[in-house]
Amino acid sequence: MSVGVFDVAIVGGGTAGCAAALALRKRGMSVVLLEKGQCGAMASGTNFGGVRRQGRDFREMPLATRARAIWDRLPELVGEDCEFRATGHLKLARDAAEMAELERYARDARDHGLELSVVGGNAVRALYPWLGEAVTGASLCPDDGQANPRLVGPAFARAARAAGAEIREFAPVTHARWTGAGFEIDAGGATLRARLLVNVAGFWGGEVAAWFGEPVPIRPLCPNMVVTEPVPYVIDRSIGVCGGNVYVRQVERGNVIFGGGRGWGDTARAISRPRADVARDAMARTLAILPWLRDARIIRTWTGFDGEMPDDIPVIGPSRTTPGLIHAFGFSGHGFQLGPAIGEIVAELVADGRSASPLAPFAIARFAGAPPAPAPR
């Protein structure tokens, strides 16, 4: 164990934290990353694996576009592609109102550099014969895709470690404080010191922010996930629907993964559980768009914890109360795609004091004086 002062301490080893550790090492800073469990095992390791820009809040689009470029470079960056495939993301409409929504989004998205192609009626079935009758239209974002979430965080962690970052797993940070000249961090029985502190603690980022007198109304978000046994590979796009109440992808191995609705979570013990009734509803919605899946069997269900902000976009940027503290948490169910870019953005904020990406909408100040988070649902 090294003594002395680190340039940067990172709380949280999700995709965001591990990518930040790597980016900071590339800038030559000394880095310690503290993860209470294993890197990339919480939201970053349990998520659906969707790497999509389509459907995003336009305020996130510059970040998502930046992230998308990094996904192509994973092999050179972290030594493996993490099963990232640019399969495209297909968003489905199931009635006229949803079709109008797809067209409206496609029109507006153009201003944000996103070219979507929207098709309706018979063209949908000609292009995607595996879609069911319920589908009336579809919007394709060709260079969106999907990846294996279980591989991404750990790959960044290994790359960061190889680049000289100190990655400490099973090291929960129980408290951190500003001393006037830096930070003292209690982690896994030891007290560490660092000049700068990065809070990328996912759902628990709210707790870390509260240590520094800036609580935010964050709530746990546990998307309910289901996977089938392998079936012949046909769904060669990642699929979403208007309203987002179901999303589906198929891995090359053949398993069909789908999500929709919310599971159960106990944030204090970090235990989350999928819900059978929610899985059933997602099953019904999946079968409405992919009726032939009826013969498949379900082999596993699960969920995980992300942090959800009331306005559905994360907190990213410097602390309002404490110099040298940077936040990036509360990705509200869509931070897997962003993760690689968050690493670079955090490194810019730490090293340069500002980022090349527009971060104004994500300032923690937007919650100043906000009431604390309501009890979890």
Binding site: A41, P154, I298, R300, T301
Partner: protein, 455 residues
């Protein structure tokens, strides 16, 4: 008390004895089992209408089997027996079920998990060839369907089931080509002092071996390097004798497994704490002598609580029921409880002897090559796990699963999880306990993609 919802999962010896004791205590338990009839695996009954004499089906154990089956009749009307019903999830105070009349959710106030065990499979080259069965599977084919796994059968294993199944096949008229015991003969003698605590069982083991030898069945102890080969299905088994000679036996079927593993997913989903049981090299639910787990009003009994065998399962099932009744504040015969505790302790001594006599055949795993199939559901070979353990630094099973997909298939690691733990620990040069155990995730077994079938 009659409105207290007590659920027993598993209608084997443990679950049936638990039900009987619960009824005696004035309760009306709900008994749930995937099978249509009681008996569990050991006393599994043929389908209705295909009856054969008990002596033929269960050998020495016929009387015990008959008593368990008779219990089902005696308890009729006094328990709520849900047949052919899968418990696929336990969440908080309810079980998710899938039965003949559809889905349901069964809330409980108290729960006894008597979920039994399955064969412990270990990978070896060719173990996934058609014609290769678990020993338990070979036995069930005989018991419930009246057919064997082949005409000329080799049995390979490392447990007391090995000579028993082989002898049952001889009696059924099969040609048993060889009985290959992976454990050394000398270990049998080392296990003797403790096995004397249950001389009847000991005598039976010796009896099967003696009869097999008398029938001219070739037997070998301390074998290594097993390999099943054949064109599309198993046609021969290669092995190396204790003396180091390479041998091959022709056959059309192979029954192979290396002990038992507890079925513990429901206890896991119920939130029970687990402990590592060094003797059986697996994690089991933490429990007191009476079967109380770390979770109030959840009990475990029988092989699902740790491998103890059928006789111990009967006692443990009754003991857990007494504990449950006591915890509900019902009057309990303390002398009976003390008697059961004494008998269970005695059987435990015997079990220790048995584990000494059939030590885990670690050499089989040490010697297998990287290209041997490990997770047959996902088609992942041993080398992938070793690489995850060494190169990617996976310190425990769930991490290795995340990296390699081992244990992510249809069986959710029920078949390969134990071998994966052994291989992971060996690759890292660490104690087996540190390899951990695969986290339970619902469904416990695959369920159909039919929304109407879910509650």
């Amino acid at each position: 008390m009659s409105d207290t919802r007590v659920v027993v999962v598993g209608a084997g010896p443990a679950g049936m004895r638990a039900c009987a004791a619960l009824v005696a205590a004035g309760l009306t338990p709900i008994l749930i089992d995937e099978a249509a009839r009681s008996g569990g695996r050991i006393y599994q009954q043929p389908p209705q209408g295909a009856a054969r004499p008990g002596r033929e089906l269960y050998g020495f154990e016929a009387a015990k089997a008959a008593r368990i089956h008779a219990l089902e009749a005696q308890l009729a009307g006094r328990i709520d027996h849900r047949r052919e019903t899968l418990v696929w999830n336990c969440f908080e105070d309810a079980l998710d079920l899938l039965g003949p009349s559809g889905p349901s959710r069964q809330p409980f106030d108290a729960l006894i998990l008597a979920t039994g065990a399955t064969d412990l499979a270990l990978p070896f080259p060719g173990w996934t060839l058609p014609g290769v069965y678990a020993l338990g599977g070979a036995q069930i084919a005989l018991k419930t369907q009246g057919c064997g796994i082949g005409r000329r059968v080799v049995f390979l294993g490392a447990g007391p089931l090995l000579p028993l199944v082989a002898w049952q096949y001889v009696q059924a008229g099969a040609d048993v080509a060889a009985v290959l015991d992976a454990t050394p003969f000398a270990a049998k003698l080392r296990g003797l002092p403790n096995m004397l605590f249950a001389p009847a069982t000991l005598a039976k083991g010796a009896y099967y071996v003696a009869r097999l030898l008398a029938a001219g069945v070739p037997m070998a102890w301390g074998v290594g390097g097993p390999r099943a080969e054949g064109d599309g299905r198993v046609e021969r088994v290669h092995f190396v004798t204790a003396g180091g000679d390479a041998r091959v036996v022709a056959c059309d079927a192979l029954g192979a497994s290396f002990g038992l593993r507890s079925e513990t997913q429901l206890a896991d989903l119920a939130g029970c704490d687990f402990v590592f049981d060094r003797r059986t090299r697996q994690y089991v639910p933490a429990r007191d002598v009476a079967g109380r787990t770390s979770r109030r009003f959840v009990y475990v009994a029988g092989d699902g609580a740790g491998i103890g065998g059928a006789d111990a399962a009967e006692l443990a099932g009754e003991r857990a029921a007494l504990a449950l009744a006591e915890d509900l504040g019902l009057p309990v015969d303390v002398n009976r409880a003390a008697f059961l505790d004494g008998r269970l302790a005695r059987l435990d001594r015997f079990r220790r002897g048995l584990e000494t006599a059939y030590p885990f055949p670690a050499h089989l795993l040490r010697d297998i090559g990287d290209d041997t199939m490990l997770c047959r559901c996902e088609g992942i070979a041993v080398g992938a796990l070793r690489a995850a353990a060494r190169d990617k630094g996976a310190p425990e099973l769930n991490r290795a699963k995340a990296f390699t997909r081992i244990g992510m298939g249809r069986c959710q690691g029920r078949m390969c999880g134990r071998a994966a733990a052994e291989l992971l620990a060996a690759a890292r040069g660490e104690d087996l306990a540190r390899a951990g155990r695969l986290r339970g995730q619902p469904p416990v077994k695959p369920i159909p993609m039919i929304p109407e079938l879910l509650s």
